[in-house]
């Protein structure tokens, strides 16, 4: 019993030991007395965040770019139980959350309930508890006719799941959820832009603008590429990156101007353009990548 206690105690200390400051290591090696340095002189590692458009923002951008609702494009909820690996669960969780946001922005109340139930099931199977719990589903059902509240519930749940993954150091899984969500957003935009029912120009502009978000997504994937699933994903996303790399997107100086009502406006002369053939190629590749994500 005492041996067991000793082993448990040593394990309890491992996290503290591995996380300690490197300066402390040096001091122990040289045997010098530890002297507290003024904290202004301590060099910290700067924390870097990359903010991708969330599923809620993606759905909002689709709608404000002139997209219409097309149920045929959504990922089928009945497939959710077929995703068994961590990678396929994470990718499809991102896909379903984007679909949930999309159906909710277009006031598809029954679909919202269905997608919320699917997201909840998948999140639970990944151990992401509390983010999409019973209370969340009940709140959603009680407010189905109030789009603002519905969007708030989805954004809150998404934040909780991201926070859970981040705080439990499951960054690689979070990266895969982000990728699934981002790919679904672009898949919807590209396929909706093609139907002729939309204000095509708005959607094309939106699609072109995703180049900048893809830059951030690639950085997130690179940072997590020690994980073999993420490394595979990175290779797959290179196919999309390649098409965007051919786009003409000269950057220009940004300036801050004051608009109406003293509103701050960031202005630039940037012109991003995509040719029809680039759009076609991007659609072909994104459809291929998305198809590989939803297959089981």
């Amino acid at each position: 019993m005492r041996k067991l206690a000793a082993v448990l105690l040593i394990f309890a200390f491992i996290p503290f030991y591995s996380c300690r400051d490197s300066k402390e290591d040096e001091q122990e090696e040289t045997g010098e007395e530890f002297i507290y340095e003024p904290y202004e002189e301590i060099e910290y590692v700067k924390r870097i965040f990359y903010a991708l458009p969330s599923p809620v923002e993606t759905a909002f951008l689709l709608k404000s770019s002139g997209a219409v609702y097309d149920e045929e494009l959504l990922s089928k909820t009945e497939n959710s139980g077929n995703y068994l690996t961590t990678k396929s669960k994470a990718l499809n969780l991102g896909i379903y959350i984007t679909d949930l946001s999309y159906v909710s922005f277009f006031d598809q109340t029954q679909e919202s309930i269905r997608y919320m139930a699917t997201v909840r099931e998948l999140a639970e199977s990944m151990g992401v508890m509390d983010a999409f719990d019973n209370r969340t589903v009940e709140r959603l059902e009680a407010n189905l006719n109030n789009r603002d509240v519905v969007m708030d519930i989805i954004s809150e749940s998404y934040m909780r799941s991201s926070a859970f993954l981040s705080e439990n150091r499951r960054d690689a899984i979070a990266a895969m959820v982000f990728t699934g969500g981002w790919v679904e957003g672009l898949y919807l935009a590209l396929n909706l832009a093609d139907t002729g029912k939309n204000g095509g120009n708005g959607l094309v502009e939106h699609i072109a603008g995703q180049k900048l978000s893809l830059d951030l997504l690639m950085r997130i994937l690179e940072e997590n590429s020690h994980n073999s699933d993420v490394a595979e994903l990175l290779e797959e996303m290179e196919k999309i990156y390649e098409v965007y790399g051919q786009m003409d997107a000269a950057s220009t100086d940004l300036r801050l101007e004051t608009g109406e009502d003293d509103k701050a406006v960031i202005v630039s002369d940037r012109e991003v353009s995509m040719t029809q053939s680039q759009l076609r190629e991007l659609k072909r590749r994104i459809n291929g990548v998305r198809s590989s994500f939803v297959s089981y």
């Binding site: 448990l8 040593i10 870097i48 990359y50 458009p53 809620v56 749940s157 502009e205 603008g209 991003v272």
Partner: protein
């Protein structure tokens, strides 16, 4: 460090197993809330600052100490209105933030705005911006070390008015 752990093991060997297990469980559990508190801080305190803007749902929060900085890259989409809210725990000094282009040319700093914790912007065309957040060096805590606390960076959006 190892010597201290070994002395502790020696000391605990003299105690009943229940005491040892209680100690271990307390130690393990006590590390949890340090991280979880930032989620609660972001959700309950900082999100309110977004007002009528729709929160995008992204989570960017961390425990920072006085003198520490963090950076965030985000794509802002043309034709949208955004609100940035950057909040710090009460025990931290006023948080300073700067908004720059990706070449680090300064567009805005809240230092010129009485350290306001929110900033509303509209973006004409889709652009990537860099937001640099700094907890200035303050008076420190009672032990003479830097104060630490949660800092959350949140974004809200709405269609351009």
């Amino acid at each position: 460090m190892f010597a201290a752990v070994l002395s502790l093991i020696k000391l605990l060997f003299m105690r009943p197993i229940t005491t040892v297990l209680f100690f271990i469980i307390t130690l393990a559990v006590s590390t949890g809330p340090v991280n979880a508190q930032c989620k609660v801080f972001a959700e309950r305190i900082c999100k309110v600052e977004l007002g009528s803007y729709v929160h995008d749902g992204n989570y960017h929060a961390a425990i920072l100490s006085e003198g520490q900085e963090a950076e965030l890259y985000k794509t802002f989409h043309g034709g949208q209105d955004y609100r940035l809210a950057i909040c710090g725990d009460d025990n931290l000094p006023d948080i300073e933030f700067r908004v720059m282009d990706t070449d680090r040319n300064l567009l805005y700093t809240n230092r010129d705005d009485d350290y306001n914790i929110t900033w509303d912007i509209s973006v004409e065309s889709t652009e990537q911006l860099l937001i640099s957040v700094k907890v200035p060096a303050g008076e420190g805590n009672s032990q003479g070390g830097p104060e630490s606390g949660c800092v959350a960076i949140m974004f809200g959006f709405r269609e351009e008015e």
